[in-house]
């Protein structure tokens, strides 16, 4: 590391960033969020319109 101070610094930053990202659970992919879901969903879950409700299911098998 002492012969490559820049590589050493880069590596330490990379390890630090990896640790924080891992610990905090960061991700490149984002989960869709919906704001303002009414409290009534708890009483009537069927009224909630999930974004993935039209997702096509796999029905394979060999």
């Amino acid at each position: 590391m002492f012969r490559h101070p820049l590589f050493g610094l880069y590596g330490l930053l990379l390890i630090g960033a990896s640790s924080v990202a891992s610990y905090r659970g960061f991700s490149f992919t984002d989960v869709n969020t919906v704001q303002g879901v009414p409290k009534s969903v708890r009483d009537n879950p069927g009224v909630y319109r999930a974004i993935y409700s039209s997702y096509h299911r796999y029905s394979g098998g060999k």
Binding site: G11, S18, V41
Partner: protein
Amino acid sequence: MVRTLECPNCGGTVELKYERTINAVCIQCLSVLDATNPSLQILQKFEGAKRYQPKIPLGTRGKLQGGQYEAIGFQIRQIEVDGVTYEWSEYLLHNPYKGYRYLTEYNGHWNDIRTLRALPVASSKGSKPSVIYGGKTYTHFQSASAVTAFVMGEFPWQVRVGDSVDIKDYVAAPESISSEETEGEVVWSIGRYTNGAEIWKAFGLKDSPPAAIGIYSNQPSPYTGRIASSWMTFTLLSLLLLLTVIGVAIVSPRDQAFRQTYTFSTGNTEPSFVTPVFALKGAQASLQVQLKTDLSNDWAYFGLALINDDTGTAYDFGKQVSFYAGSDSDGAWTEGNRSGSVSIPAVPAGRYYLRVEPEMEKDGRPRRMRYELTLQHGAPSYFWFVLGFLGLLIPPVVTSIRAFSFENRRWAESDYGALVQSSSGEDD
């Protein structure tokens, strides 16, 4: 003692500074003269078309290897490879106590050369011939027939334009060993690659030396030693990364926020339901939703929404689980997995509940599935460490590629061609 004589060809003044000079070249008409003859017999008249100017003017003194040397002779030598003529300059330097040494220059690359006092031992390195001298192996680089194209100054040997010698170069950067063979006589010399700036400084020359073009046979690689040390740094950093992985794995909270087993049956009832409210504590972290089912030759899709009970913010996601098994002529087989998990990144602390909407095949047949739902907050994502490891690989890999590219370009000029041939077919 300087002897001043008259050129028998042009009448110009010819100064002979050294007792051991055998041939001298008139600086006016460039005739090669016999310095051992009191009347300076003409040995060769200049018939060349081009008159070269030495970059180190003859008579200039400079300090090299602890000795004061004077440039007394200059010649241009050429080789022809694949119909292309390459030429380089040679300067003969003299010190009355230390003797002679030479400087060569090709495309801005300089070598400080002296003759060998002992013969190198012939050997081989891989498929290439080599010589061993001073315990160091020099690999054969190039063989060629060199022709003298221009001479100027004084020489302690017979020199003529048109003289031809067979040259073999062996390299072990930053040094090279060369043999020059003429009619049974072989002269061995060793050269050390030298920067033009050092030559300019040594001889107190004005301006700046010509920039070096390309890579010379014994030019030291700027990557020598850096490959091993960069991989060593990579190893140390990788070990540090591994320790960090272990550390993060230990300190990550992995709080089990919720766990419950449910049963789902297809039918006319509303499939969706919500879990009781649960608390996610601590810092912002990923939430892992694990599903364990008892599916067999079936699939299920879980429409899921993690909803913050206080803010009404919902993370909407889904997960399909399927598992098939059977046997055929190839034997037993399985496909898929009864379990699955989804990771929701960076979920802040708060009070949440999960809306679950299971779904199975709607073919009229009744289906039933038992499944366990587990939510774990703060499980580390090891993907980032994999990414970090790949990031650590970049510097040593780039250094190795550059070092290889340097050597490839060096050997492209040799008799053996590049280490890896260019796919474009370009020949430079």
